[in-house]
């Protein structure tokens, strides 16, 4: 254990206070969801709850099971997006880092330009395209839609990673009789674990939180994800904030969980994504 000075412990106290103020909204979401309804509407607001009860959770998870199909749909779409993004991005980022491809730079430029158009404006052409080929209202449509927002990010943060792997590795593999593909699968792929975790966490969370494609490409309630379920509850519950905040907390749970276990990969992903 390192020794810290008094001043450093004062900084710690300040950090705790700043974080508490900054993250108060998240605290308020959770606290509102476990208060009895009369306490939710108490004036002045009860910052520290007097009674804690889980009625809103019992109601939305046990008595009424209408939330479950939404959760299932969100999981399918988010996992599908993470998988499709990885399958497309890993070989592409590898090739862009390793081989001098004629169109390599153009592909990177195109990825950059696609960031200049709002997702919601991508949704209209995709809607028309999918309705023509009969893909509307399918998980695949949502997965493809979400991958359009996850893929550029994935390639941009994976390429520098491959650049940092020494070239000698593949050379040695080739001398040992590997070809380009076996060298990639046997030697390079096992090294990519940290960056794969970063990219899959992000693409999963992108898709989990997506509202744009859920709103436009899935008009059928049966395949709509949790974000759309939430907007339905907003309409249905109006100002029943305890129920709304309980549903919100449930929807935010994967983020909290991902955060607890994958914190390191999330921070590295954000900083890598902003490099040129």
């Amino acid at each position: 254990m390192r020794k810290y000075s008094i001043k450093q412990y004062m900084l710690l106290v300040m950090a705790i206070i700043i974080t508490m103020i900054f993250l108060f909204p998240i605290y308020w979401m959770i606290v509102t969801s476990v208060k009895p309804i009369q306490d939710v509407f108490a004036t002045p607001p009860m910052i520290i709850p007097e009674t804690i009860q889980f009625d809103a959770y019992v109601k939305n998870l046990i008595e009424d099971r209408s939330l479950f199909p939404y959760i299932r749909n969100s999981l399918i779409v988010a996992l599908g997006t993470a998988l499709l993004t990885l399958v497309l991005a890993i070989p592409c980022a590898y090739a862009l880092a390793r081989f001098k491809l004629k169109w390599g730079n153009i592909l990177l430029l195109v990825l950059l330009v696609t960031q200049m158009i709002p997702g919601i404006m991508m949704a209209m052409p995709l809607y028309i395209l999918f309705s023509k080929i009969g893909l509307l209202n399918s998980y695949l449509a949502l997965i493809v839609g979400n991958t359009t927002s996850a893929l550029p990010f994935a390639i941009v943060i994976m390429r520098p990673f491959f650049l940092s792997i020494p070239k000698g590795l593949e050379e040695a593999a080739v001398i040992d009789g590997c070809n380009r593909f076996t060298a990639f699968f046997r030697i390079i792929l096992p090294l990519t674990k940290p960056v794969v975790l970063t990219v899959s966490t992000f693409s999963f969370l992108f898709a989990w939180g997506d509202l744009i494609f859920a709103l436009t490409l899935a008009t059928d309630e049966k395949i709509r994800p949790l974000t759309m379920g939430l907007t339905k509850f907003i309409g249905q519950y109006g100002t029943q904030w305890d129920n709304l905040m309980a549903v919100s907390t449930i929807a935010a749970a994967p983020i909290l969980i991902a955060f607890l276990f994958l914190q390191k990969y999330i921070v590295s992903g954000i900083t890598a994504g902003a490099e040129k």
Binding site: T43, Y94, I117, I120, L126, T147, I234, L244
Partner: protein
């Protein structure tokens, strides 16, 4: 001995050449992603541009619209809604970025100091950024509630306001409420990026400044700022591009209202396409956004080119 080493070097070089030079099999790595990008990302952008010159609506979607030149653009630019949406998007983008970068910078300076568990504090704040915007929007609607919202309670008990404000229900405050919400979302993102840039700064210049007796303010304006400038510039450009694309928060919190007070360009484009089914006009809005953001990106590229030349 020497001969065999030379031989193996030659063999190595030829392998290296074979492995890294162009060949069809290299392209196989890129083709799946390239096809995806072409089909689902480039095509929609091109489609938006083409459709913006057509009178495409739900009526003639099957047979395709006919070419009408710039009519969509002329009609849209003349609507009051477009002008308001453009104005609001600009106000929204610049106020969000302004507050996010300043508060993010201050937090980065604070968290750049050495104290116990500082890495934990750096990353826990990212929760605000990672929470899906649907949830954030709902949550801030509750915080901004007229009668029971915490924000009104706080402001009245501090005697900053006399009567509770109907934040989202009146034209004068709705945009401010949405800006506050998105500023909260973006602060940790800016903080993490600025912090990363700060940690990449060389420490010896600071020691030199200390030896030379520079004050804190002098060090800030003569050392930190010039060194951070390139990083800050890219953070600003990224921030502007992402903030300009605002949609989720508007849909959840205000729906563009009251009376267009929070109408923004992406939301307007959405309404044109999915409420009015006027795909041509929506394509025009998409193209206008694309052009604006491309201009900002070009200005950025010109700035760094100029700096690199100097």
């Amino acid at each position: 001995m020497n001969g065999s080493m030379a031989k193996s070097t030659i063999a190595k070089n030829s392998i290296r050449k074979r492995y890294f030079t162009k060949s069809l099999s290299q392209y196989l790595f890129v083709i799946p992603a390239a096809l995806f990008v072409l089909l689902f990302m480039v095509y929609p952008i091109v489609y938006n541009i083409i459709v913006s010159f057509q009178d495409l609506t739900l009526m003639n979607l099957r047979q395709g619209g006919s070419f009408i030149g710039l009519q969509n653009y002329i009609e849209i630019v003349q609507t009051e809604k477009f002008v308001i949406a453009l104005k609001n998007t600009i106000i929204y983008t610049f106020s969000c970025i302004f507050f996010q970068v300043i508060i993010g910078y201050l937090l980065a300076v604070f968290l750049n100091q050495d104290f116990p568990f500082r890495n934990f504090f750096r990353s826990i704040m990212l929760l605000a950024w990672m929470t899906p915007l649907v949830i954030t929007g709902t949550l801030f609607k509750w915080l901004f509630d007229v009668d029971y919202g915490v924000i009104n309670y706080l402001l009245t008990s501090l005697h900053l306001i006399d009567n509770p404000i109907n934040w989202l229900g009146q034209e004068s405050t709705a945009l401010a409420a949405v800006i506050i919400t998105n500023t909260w979302v973006g602060i940790p993102f800016n903080m993490i990026l600025i912090l990363a840039a700060m940690q990449a700064l060389p420490s010896d210049v600071y020691e030199a400044a200390k030896v030379d007796g520079a004050s804190k303010l002098q060090t800030f304006s003569n050392v930190t700022m010039p060194l951070l400038r390139p990083a800050l510039l890219i953070i600003l450009v990224l921030g502007i591009i992402y903030t300009f694309k605002v949609f989720d928060i508007i849909l959840i919190m205000t729906g563009g209202g009251p009376v267009n007070a929070t109408q923004v360009l992406p939301f307007y484009g959405y309404e044109l396409a999915f409420v009015n089914f006027n795909f041509g006009a929506s394509g025009a809005v998409a193209t206008i956004i694309l052009v604006i953001l491309l201009c900002i990106a070009l200005v950025y590229l010109m700035m760094i080119r100029k700096e690199e030349a100097e």
